[in-house]
């Protein structure tokens, strides 16, 4: 679904993350629980406020969308039973649909592409492809490679399910 304006944006986030988001009382428990809150331009509490105010651009441009580690601590603690992680997920999905570019988006896209195509993720292939998208990740990839390779933990095999068509169908039918 295209999200062309702010009102549609809010509606789409609520559709993806659940209407409970409307009950947010801005208590900030989510932000206080977040392991990366100190690095965020808009904390999770603020991010939810931006969504409720329909401020699409500000919400989608927040670095918090990509600093969320999916740890779900906010989600288990929210006194309103909102799942802030699902709000972040909704924003990531909208970024993906709109083809917004960032390193984070590139990583997410490569990860999803592998599942869509093969049904499984091959970690070595993923790191290699990400390296092409973001050459700045070379040092980290090399450091990790030096640790993992001698221990037989790098596999160049491309992992694949036996029936990739079944996985493709799940993406086609359920991502609408």
């Amino acid at each position: 679904m295209a999200v062309d304006n702010d009102r549609e944006f809010k509606k789409e986030v609520l559709r993806l993350a659940g209407p409970d988001v409307l009950t947010c009382m801005q208590c900030g428990t989510c932000s206080a629980s977040c392991p990366t809150a100190h690095l965020m331009d808009n904390s999770i509490r603020k991010l939810i406020k931006l969504v409720l105010e329909g401020k699409k651009e500000e919400a989608l441009r927040s670095n918090s969308v990509w600093l969320c580690t999916s740890c779900q601590l906010c989600t288990v603690r929210c006194p309103r039973g909102i799942r802030p992680k699902a709000v972040v997920g909704a924003l990531r999905e909208i970024c993906e649909r709109e083809g917004r570019r960032s390193n984070d988006q590139a990583y997410e896209d490569l990860f999803l592409q592998q599942i869509r195509d093969c049904g499984r993720v091959s970690e070595t292939k993923l790191s290699g492809e990400y390296l092409l998208a973001n050459p700045m990740s070379a040092v980290q990839a090399m450091e990790l490679g030096l640790e993992l390779a001698p221990r037989g933990k790098i596999s160049i095999e491309k992992e694949r399910v036996k029936r990739p068509g079944e996985v493709k169908k799940i993406f086609q039918e359920l991502s609408k």
Partner: protein
């Protein structure tokens, strides 16, 4: 003999090989027969924002067996569990099942931690290597207990300490035991993730632990495979081995380093193992 379906997950083929090796070895030693899911797919880990697709991927896995499904990965475990609860909603189940080749008809999902704990409590005589006085940092990470409603409380869980005590080791008081390792964002957000993982390692050292035990291959990667680069980055040695829970239990069951893939851990647990064996020889 207990028979379970086994969902190894994608990392079992690469960075988490020792998780898979030790899971199979410990299961065999405990008399649990594992039947690998016939055509398992990725659960989407933490990179699949669409909850319906995530539910569909999990349901496809779960529809492949009538047995309870065991996994050693907290991320897979959390995703399967979330899907089970979403599939309780009839409209979700109908929509997801329409996209599946074989319909999902309910499933029971287990983490290897609870399976192993159950078996050891039934038959404590299987523990042949005493780990007495071994100081272990119980590191839960996030997703074993999240979302809530799983095998333990999301705040202050104790099931891992229970297992550590069952193998006669000492769980240390570890404040950051449920603090996120930063793993899910470590590729694109390197700095943020490194900072978190480093905090956890330092806290484990300060708590007096000789070893950290993990339940998730991503936590393991952050604390073990990245430990050397974190030492360089922050300019201080850490040198604490990080074992999968199945490796710790395997040692207590008398399994050898090859059985448990101990040579694959980046921070070598061999000095620790020698110490354990020496102590046992001394007491014998």
């Amino acid at each position: 003999m207990t028979k379970l379906a086994y969902y190894p997950g994608c990392v079992s083929k690469s960075t988490g090989k020792e998780m898979d090796i030790s899971t199979r070895a410990v299961s065999a030693a405990l008399g649990i027969e594992l039947e690998e899911l016939e055509d398992w797919n990725c659960c989407g880990a933490t990179h699949l924002p669409n909850e319906m697709v995530s539910t569909g991927l999990a349901a496809r896995n779960m529809a492949q067996t009538d047995l309870p499904i065991m996994t050693s990965c907290s991320i897979c475990y959390s995703n399967l569990r979330s899907a089970v609860s979403r599939m309780e909603e009839p409209s979700v189940r109908a929509r997801v099942n329409a996209a599946l080749a074989k319909p999902y008809q309910g499933a029971q999902v287990k983490h290897v931690l609870e399976v192993v704990l159950d078996e050891l409590q039934k038959d404590p005589d299987k523990i042949v290597v005493p780990l007495k006085d071994l100081k272990v940092a119980p590191y839960y990470g996030c997703l074993l207990t999240r979302p809530k409603g799983g095998i333990d409380r999301p705040e202050f869980p104790t099931i891992l300490e229970k297992l550590i005590k069952t193998v006669n080791a000492d769980p240390v008081d570890f404040r950051l035991k449920t603090f996120c390792c930063g793993g899910p964002i470590f590729m694109p957000q390197e700095e943020a993730a490194a900072d978190i993982a480093h905090k956890i390692l330092i806290e484990a050292k300060q708590s007096g632990a000789e070893v950290i035990v993990t339940l998730c291959p991503l936590c393991h990667l952050m604390l073990d495979a990245k430990q050397k680069s974190l030492e360089l980055k922050y300019g201080a040695a850490i040198g604490i081995p990080v074992l999968y829970v199945t490796q710790l239990v395997g040692i207590a069951l008398g399994l050898g380093p090859d059985d448990l893939g101990l040579n694959r851990n980046c921070v070598s647990p061999m000095p620790l193992l020698e110490k354990i064996y020496e102590k046992m020889a001394g007491e014998a």
